[in-house]
């Protein structure tokens, strides 16, 4: 099958790759570019484990064709930390032990960052609704929501 050449930007860096035009962005991120922080859960847009940003908008990378990344700016969990220093959201997820098996965690961190960029001061209800597309089957969400609300406070400079 003829491969398509794609030029894109991932976490601020220019990236080129070859892909089959039917392949998803998720598959290319993981298998071609070795960006395995993005997880595959359901592959049908229900679980949010593969959440990334595309031109600033939160999407499921399992529901994006890799060829659609042409000219776009993609953000993955690997781009959340800066210069080997964890982002506040990552620190708070650790501090609150907001994970058990960890499969949902990268998606939740990417989604939380998108939430707090859109709405720096969410109510707990707003945070829960915004993150409803990120499923966690271990924690019961309580610790996750505490980590999110605590991150928001720190990022607003209130804690």
């Amino acid at each position: 099958m003829k491969k398509t050449h794609v030029t894109t930007t991932i976490n601020g860096d220019p990236v080129e790759f070859l892909c089959d035009p039917g392949e998803t962005l998720l598959k290319v991120l993981r298998d071609e570019l070795q960006l395995t922080g993005t997880k595959e859960g359901c592959s049908s847009g229900d679980c949010g484990a593969c959440s990334v940003t595309m031109d600033g908008r939160l999407v499921c990378s399992c529901l994006v064709l890799a060829v659609e990344a042409e000219g776009a700016e993609i953000g993955t969990v690997e781009g959340i930390e800066t210069k080997h220093k964890l982002h506040v959201i990552q620190e708070k997820f650790l501090e609150h032990a907001a994970l058990q098996c960890g499969i949902c965690t990268p998606g939740l961190i990417v989604s939380t960052k998108a939430l707090l960029e859109e709405n720096p001061n969410p109510t707990e209800k707003e945070a829960r609704y915004y993150l409803a597309g990120n499923l966690c089957r271990c924690t019961g969400y309580d610790k996750i929501i505490r980590a999110v609300m605590d991150s928001a406070e720190v990022m607003r400079g209130e804690a």
Binding site: G22, S43, S44, M54, L58, C62, L63
Partner: protein, 290 residues
Amino acid sequence: MVSVVYEAPETIQDAVALLAGADIPPRALAGGTDLIIQMSNLVNESRLVINLKKIPEFMTASIDAEGLELGPAMPCAELTAREDIKAVYPGLVEAAYLIGSTQIQGRASVGGNLCNASPAADTIPSLIVNRAQCVIVGPSGERTVAAEDFVTGVGQNCLEKDELLRKITLPKPAANTSDAYLRLIPRSEMDIAVAGAGVSITLNEDGECTAARVSIGAVAPTALLVPDAAAALIGSKLDDRALQAAADAASAASNPITDRRGTVDYRRHVVGVLTRRAAVIAADRVRGNR
């Protein structure tokens, strides 16, 4: 695995030419939240995927004194952030907000929701009550179909093989008109409607309903316009008797199935309750607008 040939035309003319010249089955790609899943289930088949998101008119919405022109591939997340559209068509915007998660709304579009033609599509009842017209383009030009006639069956629409949904237009509602959409799901987020109801209400200065549209979803193979439910509201002050008559008319018009989301009897009942409640919300919105 499916074998895909991918095209991303930048003009409507190029998209129509690609459709007309397709030698393998073509599929228009808007948000992809239905299409990519459907394609992932194909084995040893080929598809020409035509991405519509590089065509500027498909990705924008404009609202003026005439009404709303909605690009069919504009993501729901962009629609729900538009206060100018929400102020005039609150029911349509709340329907778009109910589709899937934040991630899904980042890609999924109203045009895609309409063309995918799920019986449970949340935006279709709202399009119907707002008298939406679907502008279709093909090799021989344009034609226009009312939203209530666009979907022809479960997963079926009126588009010919070489046609595209070009835009959706909603006329500006009459003065003192508003709308609402309600659906029932067993959980608080991220589910598919058991039943849904859209209602548009026009009130006069005395609080009497002078015009109404009612459309119900997920209770028949397609979303239905229910003139009997509207007739029960028109001429009333939306008193209990009129609201109950509208609810009964919606239940009577429904033709649901039993599946894991609900039984026939449950859906028939619930669609009436939703109709009644949506009528009250739409009327409250009219009063708030004054």
